[in-house]
Symmetry: none
Subunit: 197 residues, 4 copies
DNA sequence: CATGAATGAGTGTTCATTCAT
DNA sequence: TATGAATGAACACTCATTCAT
């Protein structure tokens, strides 16, 4: 009678540890041995749940994205238009330690994705999802008269998305230069410019 | 008399190839053997010019920064205020292949810098330099009456710097989504919002 | 259940081969590849049992010392005074192949120890141990009236210890000049001079 | 008109530096670059005077031996029998810094000679030379009635030679344990036992 | 299912040697 | 002669992967 294991639950449990290791030590520190140690399992155990190291890494990225998306549902509940947009943008900034980890992970995979189409696709999907939501919020805001005339939702979305990713990168690279307060102020400054005069 | 080599010139020559390899294949592909092959020299030859691989990598980053800064001098010659600001921001976008290489290199080192204070310092200096120039241009623009009342140079600078880094990252990650034209439009949209009504 | 290995037993097994390689080919010949080949394992396997090459080498020296000290217990069982002293000194001479290997190993590490405090300490401990035993035997002999009046145990010990190390070195360097018989004769000549007239 | 160089004089000048480097840093530290740096010449210059690194090393050993032998002539001038013997033995102990360098060099080459017949031959010749002188002095002493009846010159010589080499090794390995005074005392203790009662 | 021992190709680095100048 | 730039094989070590238990 074999022991029955919930593979998906176990994978998520393992990936949580993997995400922490990568965000902390980078991909150089994420050796299979280090991951095994940190998860509390053996290297061989990881082999049961993942096809190899590449699978571990891409799964870790996808796992982080799932958590982020699950959070959006909470954050945006009952919000609309600019309020929803603001909540969404702020949620994507490294304003606390869990999100700093997410940002570090994301940046690590940005450079990795440059040479790995598989990783790039995972990131593209997440980015597309966020972009769709931003555009939808902007359209909602426009309908509600919250936007200045002539505001193009797509162009504005690209600007806002670039802003939060740039702010995120700067915040984790130069924490002295940008505090959580600065990040929020930057987003609010930008949003203020969207409103009608 | 033996052949005398200009060490600095040779280093720059080698680093030009190193930058290309890293931007093309990432740091994983930048093995000493690959770098030797690509530069056209032996692994031992690299040892004459660099203290080790870490020195090659940080020198490559510093070398790229020097080239960028040298270009600024040209780009900004005779420009002031918003015009200088616009030239500076556009120069920092991956609008052509050489600058796409620069952007890819920069992104690769962003993630590396997260765990390497030495690299982070090299990047911080470059970022500081750009930040100073952006702030100076904004102050110049304010003095010239090119800015809307109440525009804070520092907060604006942080927003603009984040914007161009975010746009750069998105452009090299999702080239289908953002063309050179889109990048310029995003910057111009943002700059338009700085002018007085 | 995986194969469980007794790490200490495996280390000793590996070190036995390492000692042979070093004594045979010197430290130059003791590359990690050569040691792996000679032990019958892969280079990676050695990494499981030793922290690195330096650890392999110092462990090999310590292992040889342990074997020698274990042998003393046998050799000296039931012996006292001059008889114990003689047994101890003879045991430290390269009178047969196993001890020639020990001597060669020791000499190889003498020169290595000149520039490596860690190795020097390992050798110092072993030398101190032997020195203590020699002095103790001499004091025993003095008490038993086996020594000429005025024989100083410490000074005598130093002379005897120097003698056996010098004889050992000469025996392995110039085997034609010094046979096993010559070595024993030299020790006996020296001991004869310790007895009362 | 080519520059004329006294090859032999230049070789000796270079070897003096080589000996110092080896005695100081061991053979590991005696890279061709290090030797070139220390001699004040380029690596290529050494190639003019030596056939290769092996030639440099064996020449350095031979050079040290020449210096030692030249010194014997001075030391033993006008001495005979036991007095000559004593002078000879003391000259071979590391009683001052120059001779500590000689001893370190000798020990380094002992282990190297174990696997290199060429080096072993160089050392054997030197050892043979010293051995001949010791035996000759002993015979002289015997003729002069300075030795106890039944003293065999060859067996005694082997003992004395082993003693000084063992003392030398111990003195450089464990300088705390054996001072210059101790070394002299050990030799004098041994010599005292040679005299007739 | 789970283990961790074992593999061996690949890494960065060193260094004796060669040779055009 | 003398230089020092250049080579490339050899080194110690790491690590993703495999697999007998």
């Amino acid at each position: 009678m074999p022991k029955i294991v919930d593979h998906e639950a176990r994978r998520r449990e393992l990936l949580d540890a993997v995400v922490r290791v990568i965000a902390e030590d980078g991909l150089e520190g994420a050796t299979t041995r280090a991951l095994a140690r940190e998860t509390g399992w053996s290297t061989g155990a990881l082999a049961h749940y993942f096809a190899g190291k590449a699978d571990i890494l891409s799964s870790a990225l996808a796992f982080s994205h799932e958590r982020i998306k699950a959070r959006w549902a909470d954050q945006l509940d009952g919000l609309h238009g600019l309020a929803a947009l603001r909540a969404l943008l702020l949620d994507n900034l490294p304003l606390d330690e869990p999100r700093r980890i997410e940002t570090r992970l994301e940046m690590i995979f940005w450079s990795q994705a440059l040479g790995d189409p598989g990783l790039r696709e995972i990131q593209r999907e997440e980015a597309q999802d966020l972009r769709d939501r931003v555009i939808a919020s902007l359209k909602e805001a426009r309908t509600a008269g919250e936007l200045a005339a002539g505001t193009d939702p797509v162009r504005t979305a690209e600007r806002l998305l670039a802003l939060i990713d740039g702010l995120s990168a700067h915040a984790v690279l130069y924490p002295d230069r940008l505090t959580a307060k600065d990040l929020k102020a930057a987003v609010d400054d930008e949003l203020a410019r969207l409103s009608p005069p």
